[in-house]
Assembly symmetry: C2
Homo-oligomer: 430 residues x 2
């Protein structure tokens, strides 16, 4: 049974704080192992990558076979079911259309003093995309990471994906082709992250690495940060559903379980002002669990991290939502737009009864890479801006420097930086 809380009950505040503080991840201490792998790839390049791939993936590679060539990708595309390829194409088109609207504007203007200033956005020169192997090798994630990079104008997008015993998911290769990925290497783990960050004889290094991975990949990304940029470190997925008595309990149960089936550490929470709905959803979850292929995972997640919270009114739920800062927020209630407008912290909001979160995982258009573990308090989902950077621009002339100079000199002197003051003063004969 999931946790059941009532906002009107004594002790609710403490119980809710415990829910917020609940740790869902066991962080494996792999940092020393990862440091050694990275050092070896830096020292020995391709050969280290080949050795680790033999050891961890049971796959014998050469410098020539590290890269997945175009003929192999062609064959993979031919191996995919046409219906699924069509669905991938539809998803790609919608993700691209949404992200095209995120492209930022440059600015350049001259102010009243005659100073010209502004900024210019440029794409990161090369991006590495980590794609997990095995069961978590999701073609949808390839699209969600690679499409915004290409919309940003990244000239070189490099994908790495481990091929345990040589196996690659054809849909992952098809998604890479569709998204315009420029190079694909059949490697994974910390060794792939190191190869992307530092380069090898075969792999030219990138400037930023994105994409999800296991504890080794996450630790490697943290370690190479600085040498390259990285995206967020994603935790287990979460959904929070805000619903009133008008919601369909069967549909809500389906949505809670769609989250719970991801991972035993996934979190699915329902907040409602209807005790009847709460009861009906719990019953529906149990019934649907019986029919799910991934029932064991979903049941563990719902039992250990599921929660149903009863509130006097949905308006009173808003501060609770902001504290939970969910990755995914579904609002299935009268006045959903009004409630959404009052919420500060959520990665993505799904409005109304006909927007199950899963539609956003695939074909809605917005990105499905979203902040987890309450980090929506301070961060955003993946987007075009993650693949660009801004350069500020400033230009003074003799007159505008004369206008601004005295204040700069006063502040530089107040900070004890005489050479700063001097670099302005010398141009004004001061």
């Amino acid at each position: 049974m999931p946790l059941r809380l009532d906002a009107r009950a004594r002790g609710f505040s403490d119980a809710f704080s415990r829910l917020l503080a609940m740790k869902r991840e066991v962080s494996e201490d792999v940092d020393q192992a990862v440091a050694a792998i990275i050092a070896d790839v830096v020292a020995r390049g391709d050969q280290a990558v080949i050795d680790f791939t033999r050891r961890f993936d049971g796959l014998e590679l050469t410098a020539q076979s590290l890269r997945v060539d175009e003929a192999e990708i062609d064959a993979a595309v031919r191996a995919c079911a046409p219906g699924v390829l069509d669905a991938l194409r539809e998803a790609k088109a919608r993700i691209e259309a949404y992200h095209l609207r995120q492209r930022p504007e440059d600015a350049l203007y001259t102010d009243a003093l005659g100073v010209t200033l502004g900024w210019r956005w440029t794409a990161v020169e090369a991006v590495g995309l980590y794609v997990p192997g095995g069961t978590a090798s999701y073609p949808s994630s390839v699209l969600m990471n690679a499409v915004p990079a290409k919309v940003a104008g990244v000239p070189r997008v490099v994908m790495v994906v481990p091929a345990p015993r040589g196996e690659l998911n054809p849909l992952v290769l098809a998604a890479a082709r569709l998204a315009g990925v420029d190079e694909v290497y059949r490697i994974g783990g910390a060794q792939a992250v190191a190869a992307l960050a530092y380069g090898t004889q075969t792999i030219v290094p990138v400037a930023k690495i994105v994409g999800p991975g296991n504890a080794y990949v996450a630790a490697a990304k943290r370690r190479v940060f600085g040498q390259v940029g990285i995206d967020m470190i994603a935790g287990p997925s979460e959904v929070l559903i805000l619903a009133d008595a008008s919601a369909n309990p069967q549909w809500l149960a389906a949505d809670l379980l769609a989250q719970a089936e991801h991972d035993t550490a996934a979190e699915a929470i329902l907040i409602t002002d209807s005790a009847e709905l709460a009861d009906a959803v719990e019953v529906a979850v149990e019934r649907r669990l019986a029919t799910l292929p991934r029932a064991d995972i979903a049941r563990a997640s719902w039992r250990d991290f599921g929660a149903v919270i009863l509130v006097p009114s949905l308006a009173e739920a808003v501060p609770l939502v902001d504290r939970l800062a969910p990755e995914h927020l579904e609002i299935e209630a009268e006045g959903a737009e009004g409630l959404a407008a009052g919420i500060r912290n959520a990665g993505a909001i799904f409005l109304g009864a006909y927007t199950p979160e899963a539609i956003g995982d695939y074909v809605g258009g917005p990105n499905h890479v979203l902040p987890t573990a309450r980090s929506a308090r301070f961060s955003s989902g993946l987007g075009v801006l993650d693949f660009m950077k801004r350069t500020s621009i400033l230009k003074c002339g003799p007159e505008s420097l004369r206008a601004l100079g005295p204040a700069a000199i006063a502040l530089a002197e107040a900070e004890g930086l005489a050479a700063h003051a001097g670099s302005v003063g010398i141009r004004l004969n001061l």
Copy 2:
């Protein structure tokens, strides 16, 4: 003498690679000490902060005196020279005007299928601003960090600044007042970072921490990342000057030294197509060094990390600039705008002879918190977006879900996520 390279000389490529790889920072291993400080603040709150402040800052505080009260800030403002206060006001107004243009737009639109989608930007709910104590306590940095936060709409900006033996820089407090900082605490080090991230009895926790600090502060920021957001970890400052024979060697020498005076680990590089200019700048640097108050620092920086690189033409310098990815790039040459347009990687560009980098440190308007250590390849200077986050919005109706549903179901099934498919199918009676 600084390093002298000639792009036409044999061995240039290797020498330039060594310059790129040069480590300017000795990273002190303070991580264990910092972990213990954070754990103690989490466990004991105010009392731990008070104990560490006594030990590290030689200052005896109580829970009541942690916070710098309004009367004390009033008194600090009165203690500042009126001319410097005016300069701070001018700087604040220009920084604010520039950053107001960075406020992002929300989007909400309905596409051809009838899906409503877009995004909404919201401000981070509370931000902590770390300000170093002692000689590196810069009022300009208070403005550069706090003004964008307030422009973003952050309702609560909290500043921490250590007060060694009780001393605070009145200009720092005046800048905080001017920028609209809401709370100021006289604490620093890892204990201040921990107090901001986890809260104490007196200090309500924040959601993001920004601002520069020493090795302890940097290590603490890395450790609390996840609990809160953090900005970049800033390294020693850098300038790269691209100049042709039209540039004034005295002015360039002044600019190189303005960078070098920051820190013995600062880096100042000149790239030019004129051997005469290169020689004249080196002579001018030596002459100016004799007159500088911070000559010892500047001389060490110029000797250990300075470089003068001769190129056949400035156009050929562009790929070198992109590899160096300088924090600050000055272009003092014919056709500066054209050269700037071809450069991908730079934190900030200063165009023309009348735009010394120091003008941007104080009153230009753009932010002076910029990516160092080649991180301009993948990151931007501080701005309004660093204090906001984006929530994506998606709304389908019965018809648009019917249009999108089959593709979502096909992809979910291809990924083995039956409950995802089911949450869509149940709404379509599939």
